[in-house]
Each structure stands twice: as C-alpha cells, then as structure tokens.
C-alpha cells in the first residue's frame, strides 16, 4: 500500500513540477501535467480499492520538526472510499483536460494551470487521509488556496475576480470555524493526532461537544455549500475552467461531507442528543429544496449545475441526518442505513455531477457561451456529448436505471423508517423531510428536462450553436467513462453496498450488508423485505423488455412503417428558432407557483407602432429573482464591516510620520504598562 501511495504522491508531484520546469510549448506542458495526473489518479483508484478491503487501516507517518505537527496518514475504509471517488473523478478530469485546455492555449499559462491541477488533486487526496489535525488544516487550506487560483484562471474578467474573492472569503471564514473546533479537541487530548481526538484524556464536556458540533457544521458546511452558506458556489463554479468545476463540485465539496462524518461518527463516537441529527436533517431538507429551486431559474448552464450541487449536498445530509437521529435512539441498523444512503449518494453525486460539468464544458468548448438561451439543436451536432449529458441528467433526476435513483431511494427508505422512533415530533418531521425530498426530485427532473431540452433539442438559437462541432476524442472518452460508471453504480448495488458497509460498520458497530441485500444481492431490501424492496437490475431489464414489447406491438398492429424525412409541419410558415420555448418560458409556471420564495420582478416594455396599437414594434422583457440570502444576510454583514472601516479611516492620515508616531506612542505606553 505504501508503494501505491508513493506512486500517487510521485505522480502528482511530477505533474506539479514537470510542466513548470519545461518552458516548452503548451502542448507538451499539457501532456506532461495531465498525463502524470492521470497516472497518479490511476494509482489512487488502486489505493482506494485496496484500502477499502484491507482488514486493518493502513497508517504511515513522518515526524516534523514543528511541535504538534506530524505528517501522519491513515487509510481506513471511510478515507479509502473518498480516495477512490477523488481518483476516479480525477482520472476523468485529467483525460478530459488533455483536450479541453487547448482552449486556453495562449490565453493562460498551461504550465501553471496543469501544475495547480495536480496540486489540487494531491491536496484533496491528502485531506481525506490525513491523521493529524494540524496536517489536516494545512492540506485543507492548501486545497482551498489552490482551488482559488484555479477559479481565477481567467483573471482578466472582472466577474471571475469577484467570484474568486467571494470564494476566498467564504472558505476562510469556514476554516476559522474548523480551527476553533480542532482547538477544542486539542484542549481535551493535548495532541493534534486524530487518535487523541477520538479518545481524549479528559472527555469533552457536554457544552464543548455542542460547540464542536456547531463549529464543524458551519466550518465544513461552508465548503459543502449548505443553505445559507451556499452563496459562493454559483459564483465560483462557473468561473473556473470546466474540468476544475467538475473537480470542485464533484469531489472538493465532498471532502466536507467526509469531514462531517469523520467528526460526528468517529471523533464524537456517534453519541449525540437527538437535536443534532434533527438540525442536520432540517439543513439538508432546506438545502435540497432551495438548491433545486434556484437552479430552475438559472440559464447559465454551469450556475445551474452549481445550484444542483447545493441540492445534492442537501440530499446527502438528509441521509446522514436521519442516520444521526436513529443513532441517538439506539436504532443502529437504521442508523447504518441512513449513513450508507448518504455516502452512496455522495459517490453517485460525485460521478454524475462531474459528468454534467464535463458535458457543460464540452458545450462551452463548442459554442463559447454558457447561456442556455443561445444553445439548441446540439444533439445533432454533438451526438456523443448529448448522449453522455443525457445519462448524467437522468442520473441527477434520480430516474431508474441509474445510480441517482438507487441512492435517493435508499434515502427515502431511511426517512420512512421513522415510524420506529419514540418521539412524536420526529415521527412527523422525518416524513415531512421525505415529502420535501420528493418535491426536490420532481423539480430536479423539471430542471433537467429544461437543461437538456433547451440545449440539445429543436433548432439552434444562435450562430454559436449553429457552428458547434463535436469535441475532441479525449473529452468524449472522459465523459463516456463517467457515464458508464453512473450506470454501473446504479445497476450493481450488490458491489457497492458491501463496500459502503465496510465503511459504515465500524461507526454503527454492526454490518447490515446481509440485511440490505436480498436474493443474493440482486435486490435491495432495506432492513425488511416485507416493508420495501427493489431490484435495479430487474427494473432495467423490465424497462428494456417493455420498450421492446411496445415496439413489437406497434409493428404487429401497425405493420412496418415506411420512413420519410421531412420538415416539421408549421401551419404553412417556416419554422424558426424564435418559435421555440425559451428557458425562461419553460420555468414560468414554477416561477408563478413559488412566487413567494423567488419574489420575481418582471419588467415588460412594449413599443407599439404608431399606426395601430395591435402591432408591437419592439418588446423588451426583463426578469430578475430576488437574491434573498445575499440581500438579507450577506449585505448587512458587509455593510457593517464597511461602516466600521469608514469610521476607522479617521486615524488613517496617510502620513508616514503619523503612522510612526502611532507605533511610537503604543510602544511607550506598553513599556510603561510593563513596569
């Protein structure tokens, strides 16, 4: 295992240094950087799989000269699962980047971009295997900073710089909370090693544990993008190059989920009052619903996907929150199920979100715009990208037979099991969360019907879309790889569930593999076959069989139909792109129904012909939704700080002598105090 780790480390370091050392053409730098990243993430996949099935966690450490800091790593099944996820997405992103970064030749330094990419992957891998609090914080910060530099790759644009700044501030606020939480752990154990966090010399008091819970939730929640700390996602993810967005949205925000599970179930030993789980559950439900609702109103494809990350983090937290509640009441089987469902969705989301972002990147590569209103008719021009994007869209909309369906179904099941709980409040609230999840799923389906339909179907809406061509082969391979993984994860839960069970078992204290899998693994039956069961494989076969049956019936009754290609009938006029549904029009009903949440402002100006008021010369339509969180939560805070700064400006004379005098007076006063 050490060899695999060293191979991974060496690969990323090589990818980090080689492109910078070689001042050659961008083409060579591209191949060096992303080739090494691909090799290293291949090693990472092997490392993850071996770690997952190793009987004992693998550890290694190097002592540093700084006190408290040990470069310790520990690969237990939880860490191995995330290493596997990161490496899989990393591999796809590396292959994709080979083709995608040709877009940046001459516009940005490929050496810097590729080298940051390697550093980013390495830091993410180290985050999930770090076994020392100090070391964890270092790599965590490294991950945040490297991703910041990647976000601002196109720093020539003002909105990119704004997005980067926004991200940087949010992530640092989050880190501050994490540091506080770790310092509380440090007080109890006297050491930064995770082992001391797990088994402190003096157990933390109840108040301190609560404080840790909240700090960790805010700190990692900022990175994960829970409502209301999600505001940076729709800025930062679209601004980054698309393979970076895939990594950020697919796996970086998942490191926060990893850390939450690590702290709650591992460090705090899975013992907590019921309201902790309840808070996580409520945050999950709200994030899921609001995430998808804001996604619906986005017409920038990448912002739309970023909002969907908020939604999916919410779904993951629903599973984990349900698990936490069950854990409190000693229902360990259900707790394990909830956690398993959450982690299953974590992997699935990593795969299909990465796939969708790569798809969005391909559209951007082909059309040079992110605005959906300028797409249209791309399925004919980019058939491969279209099919892969469709698989991703089906997965994220949780339709069988893909992976999103299986994990969301498991989350539902764990929420439905709430009737075993002793408290009436929770008995009511968990099904309510399930109802919100149901609404979320439906809205997600609507959203992707819009995203796919508007982008790929009908006629091109702009010259960009008309001139689009299929993307290079490397990009298609990367997307195809993830698409296959998405389908496999959905069809083969009998492979995935035992893996996840190994992750969950140490925390829950028992293995539920035998209970979840029924019929030799061909069906899923969470806890009780009579209550509910599902076989994704059978469902897929049924789907194929039914389609075949439909076709058969059609042929049997209608006979073989002669194919004829002709234009769609348009009542005698030629069809143009202006007759199509726009993305805005598509979501109009939803905007009306949820007007209270969106608070839309619509402005319609019509300039009429002088001769007749029945004919409009020009129409101007504007539509905005209220950015509620920014307006009522962030703006006041920012205004407060700017106000304070304005007041402090009085002492900023701008004179060097004045500043020196300030220091001098402070020095004298302090010296006098010291006496």
């Amino acid at each position: 295992m050490l060899n695999l780790f060293l191979l991974l480390f060496a690969g990323y370091i090589a990818g980090l240094l080689l492109p910078l050392c070689c001042p050659a053409k961008p083409r060579i730098q591209n191949i060096l950087a992303h080739g090494s990243a691909g090799l290293a993430s291949g090693a990472g996949i092997l490392l993850g799989v071996t770690g997952l099935f190793a009987p004992e966690p693998w550890t290694a450490s190097v002592q540093s000269t700084l006190p408290f800091l040990t470069f310790a790593i520990r690969l237990d099944p939880l860490a191995a699962l995330f290493v596997l996820t990161i490496s899989l997405v990393g591999l796809a992103a590396s292959i994709y980047a080979l083709g995608y970064v040709t877009e940046f030749y001459g516009r940005a330094s490929i050496a810097v971009l590729g080298s940051l990419f390697n550093g980013f992957l390495l830091s993410m891998t180290l985050v999930v295997i770090a076994d020392n609090g100090f070391f964890f914080l270092i790599v965590w910060e490294l991950m945040s900073l490297l991703s910041y530099f990647l976000v601002v790759t196109e720093h020539g644009k003002a909105e990119v710089r704004y997005a980067g700044l926004f991200y940087l501030i949010m992530t640092h606020v989050g880190t501050a909370f994490i540091i506080l939480a770790f310092l509380i752990f440090f007080q109890g154990g006297g050491s930064f090693s995770f082992e001391a966090f797990r088994h402190p010399e003096q157990p933390l008091s109840e108040g301190m544990r609560t404080l840790v819970f909240l700090m960790v939730l805010i700190g990692f929640g900022t990175k994960a993008g829970i409502v209301p700390l999600h505001v940076w996602l729709p800025y930062a993810h679209p601004a980054a190059p698309s393979h970076i967005s895939a990594l950020m949205s697919g796996v970086m925000i998942k490191t926060a989920i990893y850390a939450l599970v690590r702290v709650y179930f591992d460090f705090l030993g899975g013992q907590f009052p019921w309201w902790w789980g309840f808070v996580v559950l409520v945050i999950g439900a709200v994030s899921a619903l609001l995430g998808v609702m804001y996604a619906l109103m986005e017409h920038d494809l990448k912002s739309l996907l970023a909002y969907h990350s908020v939604e999916n983090i919410g779904i993951i937290l629903l599973g984990i929150g349900a698990g936490m509640i069950f854990q409190t009441f000693g229902l360990t089987e259900f707790a394990a199920l909830g956690l398993l469902a959450g982690l299953y969705h974590t992997i699935n989301h990593a795969m299909f979100k990465a796939l969708l972002f790569l798809g969005a990147g391909s559209l951007l590569y082909a059309t040079h715009t992110r605005n959906m209103e300028e797409y249209g008719g791309l399925l004919r021009r980019m058939p491969w990208t279209g099919v892969f994007f469709l698989i991703g869209a089906v997965s994220i909309s949780a339709l069988p037979p893909t992976n999103g369906f299986v994990s969301e179904w498991l989350v539902f099941q764990s929420l439905f099991l709430s009737f075993h709980l002793p408290t009436v409040l929770l008995k009511l609230m968990l099904p309510l969360a399930a109802a919100m999840l149901a609404l979320t799923s439906v809205l997600a389906l609507t959203c992707f019907a819009k995203a796919f339909g508007i982008s790929f179907l009908a006629l091109p809406r702009s010259s960009h879309a008309r001139q689009a061509e299929e993307v290079p082969i490397t990009m298609r391979i990367a997307m195809g790889m993830l698409a296959v993984v998405c389908v496999l994860l959905g069809l083969a839960p009998m492979v995935v569930v035992p893996m996840l069970d190994r992750v969950v078992a140490p925390f829950a204290g028992l293995s539920i593999e035998g209970k979840v899998l029924a019929l030799d693994g061909w069906a899923l039956a969470p806890v009780n076959v009579e209550f509910s069961s599902l076989s994704p494989m059978a469902l897929a076969l049924l789907l194929i069989a039914l389609s075949a049956l439909g076709l058969l019936l059609a042929v049997a009754f209608g006979g073989l139909v002669k194919q004829r290609y002709y234009k769609t009938w348009g009542c005698g006029i030629n069809l143009t792109a202006r007759m199509e549904y726009t993305a805005t029009g598509f979501v109009q009903p939803i905007k009306r129904v949820f007007g209270a949440i969106y608070q839309p402002t619509v402005k319609l100006e019509t300039e009429l012909l002088k001769e007749s008021r029945y004919f409009a010369k020009r129409r101007h339509f504007e539509f905005h939704i209220e950015p509620v969180f920014q307006k009522y939560l962030y703006d006041p805070v920012v205004a407060f700080f700017i106000g304070m700064a304005e007041r402090l400006r009085v002492i900023q004379g701008g004179s060097l002598h004045l500043y020196l005098a300030y220091i001098f007076v402070t020095l004298i006063v302090l010296l006098l105090f010291a006496v």
């Binding site: 004379g653 060097l656 002598h657 020196l660 005098a661 001098f664 020095l667 004298i668 010296l671 006496v675």
Partner: protein, 221 residues
C-alpha cells in the same frame, strides 16, 4: 578578578554612553552627510563595545558579529547613503516636524524614560554589561523619534539604522549577543532594508521631485 570585571563593566558602560552621545549629535545635526558620518561613528563605537564584550567574556562569536558590524555599518551603508545624498542633491533638513531644541529635550526625556523602565530589571541581571540595557533602550527610542521628527527619507533611514544599533547593543547587553545565525540574519535584513530604502528614496525623488515623505499624503484617496 573582581576588580578586572568591575573595570570591564565600567569600560562597557563608557562605550555605551558614547553611543548615546552620538545619538544626541544626530538629533541635533541638520546636515545630512554629517548625520551619516555620525552614524558611522556610532557604529564604530558599537564595534568597540562588542569587541570589548567579546574580549571580557571570551565569547568569540561576538568578534565575528563585531567584524560584520564594522564592515556593513561603518563602511558599506554610509557609502550607499552618501551616494544617495549626492545623487539627490539634498544637503540639509530644512523643515522639521519637531525643531532641534525641542527634539533634544524630548530625547532627554526618552533617556529618563528608558532608565525608569529598565530600573526594576537591571538588578536582576548578573552580566557585566547589564547597565547598558537602559542605554540600548534609550537609543532605540531616540532612533524611533528621529524617524518621526525628520521629513527627509534619508534621515528617516538614519533613524532606522540607529534603532538597529540600539537593538544590537541591547542584545549584547542582555545575553552577550544573539546566536550567530540570528545575527547574520539581522545583518542581511538591515542591508536589504537600506538597499530598498535607497531605491524608494530615488523613486520618491522621481515622483515628487523631493525626498520629503510628507508628500506621500497625497497618495491617500
């Protein structure tokens, strides 16, 4: 032994006092090149003090520090500053934030303050250089005051260097000098600081046709 160490202590005190005296001279001097000369003289006294301490205590690494001080502060830095003054053609400090008599009075007060502050500490020490600590602090404070009182960048630089001399004396007085590696680092820092400040002064001259740092207020929004 008792007597020789007493005499040694007296000698160190004498040298420190000479250092302090040159400080007052710098505060009173308006001509820039003379300021630089006085600084070189002060540094020479510092070398003497350090060498004396090295001789009396047998800490040979202080010799190296003393030698470096002699090289950098007595020879190199004054030359650099002279060149800057020559190039800029600024001979005198015409306008001061605090005029000379008032400045001297304030410096006197600062010396008193330094002795007052260090009074409770000095009896605790057991080194023969312990009395120099008060003087070292006084030199630091006067150097700082010079930076505030003068308007020309060059004299501010001299103030900064005087502060640095005070710190060096303080380190020698309190602990017989810092570890050699720290000393080397400090020397390097000082050298770089002077180079940067020299460049900064030149740029200031180019931008404002003057090395008066109070012109920098216009940079404020």
């Amino acid at each position: 032994m008792q007597i020789s160490s007493h005499i040694g202590s007296q000698l160190v005190d004498l040298c420190s006092a000479l250092l302090l005296l040159t400080c007052f001279a710098i505060v009173a001097q308006r001509r820039l090149s003379a300021c630089v000369d006085l600084f070189a003289l002060q540094s020479a006294f510092l070398v003497l003090t350090a060498a004396l301490v090295a001789f009396l205590t047998g800490n040979h690494h202080i010799y190296i520090a003393a030698g470096l001080t002699g090289l950098i502060k007595v020879i190199i830095i004054p030359r650099v500053l002279k060149k800057v003054i020559e190039r800029l053609n600024v001979k005198r400090e015409l306008v001061m934030n605090v005029n000379v008599p008032a400045g001297l009075l304030i410096c006197g007060a600062l010396v008193m303050l330094a002795f007052f502050i260090t009074q409770p500490i000095i009896p605790l020490g057991f080194l023969l250089t312990r009395d120099s600590l008060a003087i070292a602090l006084a030199i630091v404070l006067i150097g700082f005051f010079t930076m505030i009182a003068r308007q020309k960048a060059v004299s501010q630089l001299v103030g900064f260097l005087v502060m640095e001399n005070g710190l060096f004396l303080g380190a020698t007085a309190a602990t017989y000098g810092m570890p050699l590696i720290v000393e080397l680092g400090v020397f390097f820092d000082v050298l770089i600081a002077v180079l940067i400040a020299g460049i900064y002064t030149n740029r200031l001259q180019d931008a404002f046709d003057s090395v008066d740092t109070s012109h920098l207020t216009v940079l404020k929004e």
